[in-house]
Symmetry: C2
Subunit: 451 residues, 2 copies
């Protein structure tokens, strides 16, 4: 398939009578010498990385930030200082201080990087305040909340982008490029997941962000303050988007395809308890905590076009990091765990071939163009691209490439998975957040080298 | 755990009050100078490999074989000739000629290596005729048929062994050894499957066994004569045992554990049709055949002890062979796709380590002892072990290490999977073929270096 420019693609869709509401009437971009005015809610470690990338750019103004943690705010001030930028106004002192930030009239868009449970109210409030939203992964907690954000976004004509950085991983974008050029034939089956030993993220000593103790909740620092509690209370795929985001873009989800159902099963929960006992002994108070989250959660999804997707969540056990991608079509497959691929007629019969040369040959135009800018950005450069895409799309009054429908479809996997696990693996039907528009909605993700 | 001798193990189980009916009263071993008298039903290519291994041994007599294919029978005679053995009496000419073979009084046991649909009637008839059964994988087609064979075996006091060779793969036995010594901790999640591009098995030119044409059914030769039709008529995991067999032995299925439920989803079916079109053009009559079997079938199982098992079936697409094993516990994991493992505290943190040195260090006693005998046997030596185990157990009046309960649990996955796929992934409850005895039944698989 020819890579269309974004403008061509939109034009084609309109001419074909398949126009989708891509230019919301209320899109009011408060342009100030082409600078986007951003407010940050949440400047913990993740927020700081996004902030750092925004501060590096000459097309942003960041007049306001919000956080309730003094230590994180001190680090935030340092970032502004390092970037030789004017210090922002700080909103703090109360969990709802963010609402004061939202009431400012000099902000075009908000970047939200707070604990998961806050994404929903903060996104809703930001949209109500007339601000575009760029939100870290995990949209909301319940199916209904996902609908709320989709509808609020549509009603306001504003934009909501999920900042899912793995969509921009270099090998994944090369594979997307290969898919679009037909190298894998018709796609049949996909795999991905989040397989990451988070024990030192879920527990620390209250001083350092990672490990050194078995504290979580209010005694802990950084993510362990809030993320671990989800492992106490919930059982399902709690973190699906790093896997399903890239897979969705490959499968044209909501651009001619959609997820139709899923089923999830969870293994027993042993890892977190064993870690506490190993690190602090059986008498530590946290050794009495019962963790509900199964150590490995396995989810299978079906799609309207007949592909299957396997998604895994595995965060409590000792293991090397792996997102476990597999892309399989009628002509061959790629797997990242063995860094290999197979393409019928192109690679030697019945044998794996190292993928690297192929990934380089099909390097995505975006990576070719921004390789230098991405160098040094978080997570192997991916963070540069996701921030860049959000800022450039909003500046250009164009639809964000990971929109509210995408975000809802990816993030709603968590509550659906929880329901399935609780019901012994019972199949859950997938909501269609586009209400039928998925058949003709264009896919604007990484169609050219702009963003 | 100390490796007990088989005799010690049985004794211990009896003393512990957990005796299981391990020495059926009707076990009548017609010993002739310690030689086991075997009849072969099915001497196609698979049967011939099993036959060749039996002919190499000095503890077998093979007075009778049965097949209906003259070409295969000619090859069979050659095997006897090559082994300098007396030619067997041949039963042929009619699909039910095997019943005449079964009526002979000079056979202790029957080896069945026929098309899947024949395994059930032949096994039932063999048991009725008072013969022990060693049957190639796939026990039967329906859930009820699996029950029938379990009950017939129990009632007759005879033995039924599934000849699942992958249980004896060298790396898998080393990993089993590691599991039994606690290296992976408590097991949590397992993966395996049958990922094998069978297009040249499912189609040939009627002359050669593999490829060269797109014929199947009566016009084809060897497996394509019968195996392909299953892909036309059925949708589910049609070949689960190579994956689930080894996994079951690792999880102590039916020795303190059992499968409780499964769910299966199938992708669309494209691979076989595309192969026909690619090889023979869209006008070939077989290009009109609709194949029901989804190209990739994904099954998740739950167990009584809380582990999850992912099982994949993938036989219609171009790909390198891989059974996709993964063994994961509270201390680490092994995966065969990247030939790597990770063991907390033993391997470098957060990194994969090549598995080879570990597999050598934990080489199973059986492989150490029989390495030379296994050399040259089919499927990398595995076939030697599965044949050896069947013959030695029957000769010794001891329970076969892959018994009728194991066989039923592994093979029944196919009809359960078909039911689940047909119902959009709906959860299927697993029958307990041991009717409660799974809690205390000893595991006799590869406990020592005898067989």
């Amino acid at each position: 398939m020819k890579n269309l420019s974004r403008a061509e693609f939109i034009k084609m869709s309109v001419l074909a009578g398949t126009a989708f509401s891509i230019l919301p009437s209320k899109l009011v971009f408060g342009n100030n010498n082409s600078k986007l005015r951003l407010g940050f809610i949440g400047t913990g470690l993740r927020g700081q990385e996004l902030l750092r990338l925004c501060l590096q750019r000459n097309d942003t103004l960041i007049p306001a930030v919000c956080d309730i943690d003094e230590r994180m705010l001190a680090m935030t001030h340092k970032l502004f200082e390092n970037a030789a930028r004017p210090q922002p106004e700080v909103y703090s002192g109360d969990p709802y201080a963010y609402r004061e930030l939202l009431s400012r009239s000099d902000l075009d868009a908000i970047i939200i990087a707070t604990p998961w449970n806050w994404h929903y109210p903060m996104s809703m409030d930001a949209l109500d305040a007339g601000k575009h939203v760029g939100c870290e992964v995990i949209m909301a907690k319940t199916v209904q909340e996902h609908w709320d954000i989709v509808r609020k976004t549509t009603e306001t004509g504003l934009q909501y982008m999920m900042l899912e950085n793995v969509c921009y991983r270099r090998d994944i974008m090369a594979v997307l490029n290969m898919i679009r050029q037909g190298l894998f034939g018709e796609l049949i089956h996909m795999q991905a997941g989040y397989q990451h030993d988070l024990r030192e993220v879920k527990f620390n000593n209250g001083e350092q962000p990672y490990g050194g103790g078995v504290l979580f909740g209010s005694e802990a620092f950084s993510e362990a303050r809030w993320r671990t509690q989800h492992s106490v209370e919930r059982n399902g795929d709690l973190y699906p988007t790093h896997g399903i985001g890239p897979i969705s873009k490959m499968l044209n989800i909501y651009s001619g395809n959609r997820f139709t159902s899923l089923t999830s099963m969870a293994s027993k929960a042993r890892g977190l308890h064993e870690y506490i006992v190993k690190e602090a002994g059986p008498d530590h108070p946290n050794a009495k905590v019962e963790f509900k989250l199964g150590d490995v959660v396995t989810t299978t999804l079906s799609t309207a076009n007949g592909e299957t997707v396997l998604l895994q969540h595995d965060t409590n056990l000792p293991r090397p990091y792996s997102l476990g991608f597999r892309v399989q079509g009628t002509r061959g497959l790629w797997m990242d765990i063995n860094k290999s691929l197979y393409i019928e007629g192109e690679t030697a019969p019945h044998r794996w071939e190292e993928a690297q040369a192929w990934l380089e040959r099909y390097d995505h135009p975006l990576w070719k163009r921004f390789e230098n800018e991405a160098a040094g950005a978080g997570h192997g450069g991916m963070d540069f691209f996701v921030v860049n895409a959000f800022i450039e799309a909003i500046k250009a009054n164009e639809p964000v490439p990971i929109d509210v429908y995408d975000a809802a479809a990816w993030s709603v996997i968590t509550p659906l998975s929880e329901q399935s696990v609780a019901a012994g693996g019972a199949v859950q039907q997938f909501p269609d957040f586009t209400e039928g528009k998925w058949r003709t909605k264009p896919d604007l993700f990484a169609r050219d080298d702009r963003y």
